[in-house]
């Protein structure tokens, strides 16, 4: 059963159409919501959470109707907004426990889970200090902790790595992956950075100008447009390899010492392996082209999507 479903979802702000008859389905797991700034990512998340009412259209989150069952939905989801949202004059422990209680946890449970959650996100002795003094990375962790404290079934993370330095970003992404894989919590994570999505997500929803461009498992995206890069030592060897691969039924393109192989399915790996072994060539590199995921955006205008 899909955890998120929308049907003909339209949101207009005056003359601006943020979502345009958006129809999508998201399966359990870690899903990336990708699109340029202004594509409608935050608007979609806010509608699913019930803090924005769509102009028209319907949606279901965890099987519950976004119009009629907002309270039940919000009991089982967590939300980490893109913007600042922490009361800086409180300390993290008191704040996260408070948010846990608002989400319905009994007092003692809220206290226990606050301690555990802050530990999971990597906040230690500083959790009793006023949040005013926290670094951006620590604030992001508290924002994540308050979304997680009540053990939600689904997390909405809006640009969770915003403002973080590269090390902080790596830690945040590792944490998100852990929450998805080990904690077993489904995640819808928006980002305008493709590299992040590729590292963390199982599947992908691409929206642009409020409409669905594509969605599906991340693997599909690379498989469909994927190019397999095979590098050998000499150009002459590469030419022989390309010939063999073409003969085996693959589309190839020769590029110096490299052969670009159109990878339609996993069989391509076997054919390349067999051909390299048969010709007894020194294989230098075999990899899926890093361009793959980004290629999806070319028709939609890649200049509007930053690449990390």
């Amino acid at each position: 059963m899909p955890i998120i479903e929308t049907n003909d979802l339209t949101m207009r702000f005056g003359p601006v159409t943020a979502l345009d008859a958006l129809a999508l389905q998201v399966e359990p797991g870690v899903t990336g919501l990708v699109g340029a700034n202004g594509a409608g990512k935050s608007t979609l998340i806010k509608i699913l959470l019930g803090i924005l009412t769509p102009t028209t259209g319907a949606g279901r989150v965890l099987g519950l109707d976004i119009h009629a069952q907002g309270l039940q939905i919000r009991e089982s989801v967590g939300y980490m907004p893109e913007h600042d949202c922490l009361p800086l004059d409180m300390n993290a422990t008191e704040f996260v426990a408070h948010m846990g209680r608002i989400s319905g946890l009994p007092k003692s449970v809220a206290r226990e889970r606050t301690a555990e959650t802050l530990r999971h996100v990597g906040l230690f002795e500083e959790r009793y200090r006023e949040m005013r003094g926290y670094s951006t990375g620590m604030k992001q962790r508290v924002k994540l902790a308050q979304a997680l404290v009540h053990d939600p079934r689904l997390l909405f993370l809006d640009e969770p790595t915003n403002g973080l330095d590269p090390a902080g970003r790596d830690e945040m992404l590792a944490l998100i992956r852990r929450i998805g894989r080990e904690f077993g919590i489904s995640i819808l994570m928006s980002s305008h950075l493709l590299g992040e999505i590729e590292r963390v997500c199982d599947s992908l929803v691409v929206i642009d100008a409020g409409t669905l461009v594509r969605s599906g498992p991340v693997a599909n995206f690379t498989a469909h447009t994927g190019i397999l890069l095979v590098e050998v030592e000499l150009a002459e060897e590469a030419a022989r390899l390309a010939g063999a691969l073409t003969a085996a039924g693959l589309e190839t393109r020769l590029d110096g010492r490299r052969v670009h192989v159109q990878q339609r399915d996993d069989r391509a790996f076997d054919i390349v392996r067999d051909a390299v072994a048969e010709l007894d060539l020194p294989l230098v590199r075999l990899e899926q082209s890093r361009q793959a995921l980004e290629d999806i955006f070319r028709p939609e205008g890649i200049e509007r999507v930053a690449v990390a």
Binding site: L49, G50, I51, L71, Q72, R74, E75, V77, Y79, P81, H83, D84, C85, L86, P87, L88, D89, M90, N91, E94, H98, M99, R101, I102, S103, G104, L105, P106, V109, R113, E116, R119, H120, G122, F124, E130, S135, G137, M138, Q146, H150, D151, A167, G168, E171, R178, E182, F183, G184
Partner: protein, 292 residues
């Protein structure tokens, strides 16, 4: 992010625990918002500077009661300096200042820090938030409207020849004191929040609340003089005075405004009810509309 990887790893080994116990839902959420609101009104759980204004104002409201008890201790027995039904009038300015100082603490912080988006994505309705915060401000304001009266009652009881006799003679006063204090707290809170819910800037909210009370007082008194006595009902202090007199079942004296203009007390009570209703509606409407 300075913790070492080994340490992180060790702690991660505790693993994640699923919660499948009860979720207490909306009622507890409203309760938590209320309690946390009262706490932040007095700056509890926050830095000492946040405690100064509320505690100083609450202490100031006690001053007349303490002074009275001091005089009563040395003066002839039957001297009656402040009657219980006059106390709210004596501390009215402090009541306004308290609401102006504390209202922005309760709701302005949520706007300033944008915490509203976290509240509104939890299992509460927007109206729940408005009601819980309103109730929190009113409860905190009881510190100004009821605490001094409690000091007076206790002080008088101890000073009386027999505390037991005092309580027996005066016990009918207690529900009246509580009722009038509660009305005053609810009234000032509704008016205070109708302004402070609109701005994240503490200074704007405080200025707005103080201006609202003193401007309406000034306008009411001028209009009452030039256009007719009924205009005095615009004066927040007189609205509250009218209700207090009704609660204590007394008539206004001839030298106070309500007596001088000869306005029925019931009209003052109606004016107060109307103000509370409109102010509450403004607060609720604000939180239905505000973006989160």
């Amino acid at each position: 992010m300075s913790q070492s990887p080994e340490r992180t790893g060790a702690i991660y080994d505790l693993g994640y625990r699923v919660y499948d116990g009860p979720r207490l839902g909306r009622r507890q959420a409203i309760e938590s918002l209320f309690v946390q609101g009262v706490r932040s009104a007095f700056g509890l759980g926050r830095r000492p500077a946040a405690k100064v204004a509320p505690f100083v104002l609450a202490a100031l409201a006690l001053v007349p009661a303490v002074v009275y008890l001091g005089i009563a201790a040395i003066a002839p027995a039957d001297l009656n300096l402040i009657a219980t039904y006059d106390y709210l009038g004596v501390i009215f300015v402090i009541l306004i200042l308290f609401v102006a100082a504390v209202g922005p603490e309760i709701v302005g912080r949520d706007l300033r820090y944008r915490t509203l988006s976290l509240y509104f994505t939890r299992p509460i309705a927007r109206d729940d938030y408005a009601i819980a915060r309103l109730a929190a401000l009113a409860a905190a304001t009881l510190a100004v409207t009821l605490a001094p009266q409690a000091v007076l009652v206790i002080g008088n009881a101890l000073a009386a020849n027999s505390a037991w006799d005092y309580v027996r003679d005066e016990w009918l006063e207690l529900p009246r004191i509580i009722a009038s204090g509660a009305v005053a707290a609810a009234y000032a809170s509704a008016l205070g929040l109708s302004i402070s819910s609109y701005t994240s800037r503490r200074s704007f909210a405080m200025g707005g609340i103080v201006a609202l009370f003193f401007m309406s007082t000034a306008v009411a008194n001028i209009l009452a003089e030039v256009a007719g006595g009924w205009w005095i009902l615009l004066d927040p202090g007189e609205q509250l005075r009218a209700v207090t007199l009704i609660i204590f079942n007394r008539d206004p004296s001839a030298d106070e405004a309500l007596g001088r203009y000869d306005v029925p007390l019931a009209a003052g009570a109606l004016a107060l009810l109307a103000v509370v209703a409109v102010a509450t509606a403004i607060v609720i409407r604000r939180y239905r509309k505000v973006g989160a």
